[in-house]
């Protein structure tokens, strides 16, 4: 209960007027940065870091942390309304969010997104408060072989996302893996598949890929819409955006489940919010109610993805605060911030700077509530966007795609990439090749390739390393159980049915 007392003191710190406004300012900025395609939390936090040098460290990190988790709320807006994920963790939100929008349920999708973000975030913070240091230590047990087995598990799970044609889903999964191998490989330092282009040396950037595959191909699709296809004629009110009791019942279980899983994913080294939302969406697709309809516009899909990315964002604070090890790109920037403010990030931070530590944790509870209120208040304005006629939407979204793709690396090359990928995405989607598996595989491939090589380096070329380490072995056997057994059992049952059918009594 000691941590509970400290947490109460933390609330005292966080509720000072200055810190409260810092959280509020961070929340507004985070939502906006998140909603802008091409700009993510890393950019937002890095840009504002120098502004915070004059502030007391507690105020500074309260503001920056607020930017980070508010960003997860904002990213879902453009994903739901325009099919352009504002930030990479919002990719999974678009899968169900945009179809909902097309059915005229944008308000409900946004509401679901905000509520689940809040639930996921709060679960993440609760776990962080009471189990943070313990979990961070567990995270350390995940070395390269464990990470490899975990990601392989996730990669094989893409099968659940494949949609109508498993064959075409597999095809795009493989294409995504190959695209991810472009650029300098971290573990061997080789430059691969750059074909002489300096820009390709860095690899293909994920956000332009997403903007092209989702956003721009959507614009091309819109050109073929008939009049009024996307325009919502009747005025959407906040009342219609609210969820009914039965809908809330549908949202809560996936949000809680995803919140817990997302937090754990966020804690693992180098995972972060994007992987978090992928994993929770996959879990929902496998075990949730309404799982067959996932991807066609169900609120459970939005809930799983949003709760997943918010809780993972909270989870990635655990290794940062209790070990001084950044768990994601954004927390790496925050780590730099801690040093700039004169704090030494590391295992002693909690004991040396209790006011800072607990003030931050407490502010995350308050900040999350502030972000929720702000985000809910924005819904009426946001759904107004949908009343803009398609004819006007087409050029405006195109302009946003261009600016967004450019802003990722301040490089026109990414705009060319966005355009090419968009055209390819449009054509292959016309022929029922799903693009979500491609993006998922693209994100997971670098980690799996790196951890595979690292494992072999660790074991001097001995492949048994994957089976002799307990966590890795467990993950691999679970994978066998999930993927290899069911088809065999299915085959066996079928045979049995045939034989029993063949011998009628």
């Amino acid at each position: 209960m000691e941590s509970f007392d400290l947490l109460l003191q933390g609330f005292g710190t966080a509720l000072s007027l200055q810190n409260f406004f810092a959280a509020m300012f961070g929340a507004v900025l985070g939502i906006i940065v998140g909603a802008m395609p091409g700009l993510g939390s890393v950019t937002g936090v890095a840009l504002l870091l120098p502004l915070t040098f004059g502030m007391p460290p507690t105020t500074a990190i309260i503001m920056l942390a607020a930017i980070y988790y508010a960003n997860m709320y904002g990213g879902s807006y453009s994903a739901i309304l325009l099919n352009i994920p504002g930030d990479s963790p919002a990719v999974m939100t678009a899968l169900d969010g945009y179809p909902l929008s097309k059915q005229g349920k944008a308000g409900k999708a946004l509401f679901t997104s905000n509520i689940s973000s809040f639930i996921g975030g709060t679960i993440g913070i609760i776990i962080l408060t009471f189990m943070g240091p313990a979990l961070a230590t567990i995270g350390l047990a995940f070395g390269p072989p464990e990470v490899f087995s975990l990601i392989l598990f996730a990669l094989c799970s893409i099968g659940w996302l494949l949609g109508d044609s498993p064959l075409k889903g597999l095809t795009t999964t493989f294409l995504g893996i190959l695209l991810a191998t472009v650029g300098v490989s971290m573990t061997l330092g080789q430059s691969r598949f750059a074909f002489g282009s300096t820009n390709l040396l860095a690899g293909i950037a994920f956000i332009p890929l997403v903007i092209g595959m989702f956003g721009f191909s959507q614009v091309m699709e819109m050109m073929t819409f008939r009049k009024g296809d996307l325009t919502i004629d009747k005025r959407l009110t906040i009342r219609e955006s609210l969820l009914s009791k039965s809908e809330i019942k549908r949202v809560i279980p996936p949000a809680i489940r995803s919140g817990v899983l997302g937090t754990f994913v966020g804690i693992l080294p180098g995972a972060g919010a994007t992987t978090g939302s992928f994993m929770t969406y996959i879990l929902q697709k496998k075990i949730g109610k309404n799982k067959e309809k996932m991807g066609t516009g169900v609120i459970e899909g939005v809930a799983a993805a949003e709760a997943g990315n918010n809780s993972a964002a909270a989870g990635s604070f655990a290794p940062l605060l209790s070990l001084g090890i950044p768990g994601s790109g954004t927390s790496a920037v925050l780590l730099g911030g801690l040093m700039m403010w004169g704090l030494t990030p590391g295992p002693l931070l909690v004991t040396n700077e209790p006011e800072f530590f607990w003030g931050l944790i407490a502010s995350m509870y308050i900040g999350n509530a502030i972000v929720l209120l702000m985000a809910l208040a924005m819904i009426p304005f946001l759904i107004y966007i949908l009343r803009v006629p398609t004819a006007v939407m087409v050029p405006v979204i195109t302009a946003v795609c261009i600016v967004g793709a450019y802003s990722v690396n301040n490089n026109m090359f990414d705009v060319y990439m966005m355009l090419i990928v968009g055209v390819i995405g449009f054509i292959i989607q016309k022929y029922k090749f799903p693009v979500a598996p491609l993006l998922l595989a693209f994100v997971l491939t670098p980690r799996i390739e790196t951890s595979l090589r690292q494992s072999f380096d660790m074991s001097m070329g001995d492949p048994t390393i994957f089976f002799t380490r307990p966590i890795s072995a467990t993950l691999l056997s679970m994978m066998m159980l999930f993927f290899i057994l069911p088809p065999i059992i299915g085959l066996y049952k079928k045979k049995k049915a045939e034989t029993s059918g063949g011998t009628p009594a």
């Binding site: 906006i32 940065v33 802008m36 700009l39 950019t43 937002g44 840009l47 044609s165 064959l167 597999l170 095809t171 493989f174 294409l175 893996i177 190959l178 191998t181 490989s185 061997l188 080789q190 691969r192 598949f193 721009f216 614009v219 091309m220 699709e221 050109m223 073929t224 004819a391 006007v392 087409v394 050029p395 405006v396 195109t398 302009a399 795609c401 261009i402 600016v403 450019y406 802003s407 301040n410 026109m412 705009v415 060319y416 355009l419 968009g422 055209v423 449009f426 054509i427 292959i428 016309k430 022929y431 029922k432 090749f433 491939t445 390739e449 595979l452 090589r453 072999f456 380096d457 070329g461």
Partner: protein, 140 residues
């Protein structure tokens, strides 16, 4: 037919990746998977699935309308304009031009929306979030 063209394209991609992976980047180096390991394995898998797609040849009756490629032309023109006018003016001008000449909106309406886009890019991306946008002849 188009589906087969896509599959042939994917077959080629898989082939190039597997070939370069094997010849250039190495399948197995220093007791571990080399830079070519994943490209070779997955490249071959992609070739296999592409062949199955070709053989199955599902007839999908979803023709691609030429209209869908108008935004592509728009982006190409905008990219050219960015070189001379900078990002802020070029994007606004693209929106204006599209609305006026493609959608037959009035000059005033198209102008206001185009200007709005330019101001939004300038205000939010350039000034507030400090994204250094490409500038053109007029220095913005």
């Amino acid at each position: 037919m188009t589906e087969r063209i896509i599959a042939v394209f994917l077959l080629l991609v898989g082939g190039v990746w597997a070939f370069l992976g094997l010849t250039e980047y190495g399948l197995w180096i220093e007791d571990g998977p080399g830079g070519g390991f994943i490209p070779v394995v997955v490249g071959i898998l992609l070739m296999l699935t592409a062949v199955v797609v070709i053989l199955k040849n599902e007839e999908i009756k979803d023709s691609i309308e030429i209209k869908a490629f108008f935004p592509v032309a728009g982006v190409v023109i905008t990219i050219l304009m960015i070189k001379f006018l900078g990002m802020i003016i070029a994007t606004g001008l693209f929106v204006f031009g599209w609305l006026r000449f493609m959608e037959q909106r009035t000059y005033v309406k198209a102008g206001i929306i185009g200007l709005g886009v330019s101001i939004f890019v300038l205000g939010v991306f350039s000034l507030w979030l400090q994204v250094p946008m490409p500038t053109g002849l007029f220095g913005i």
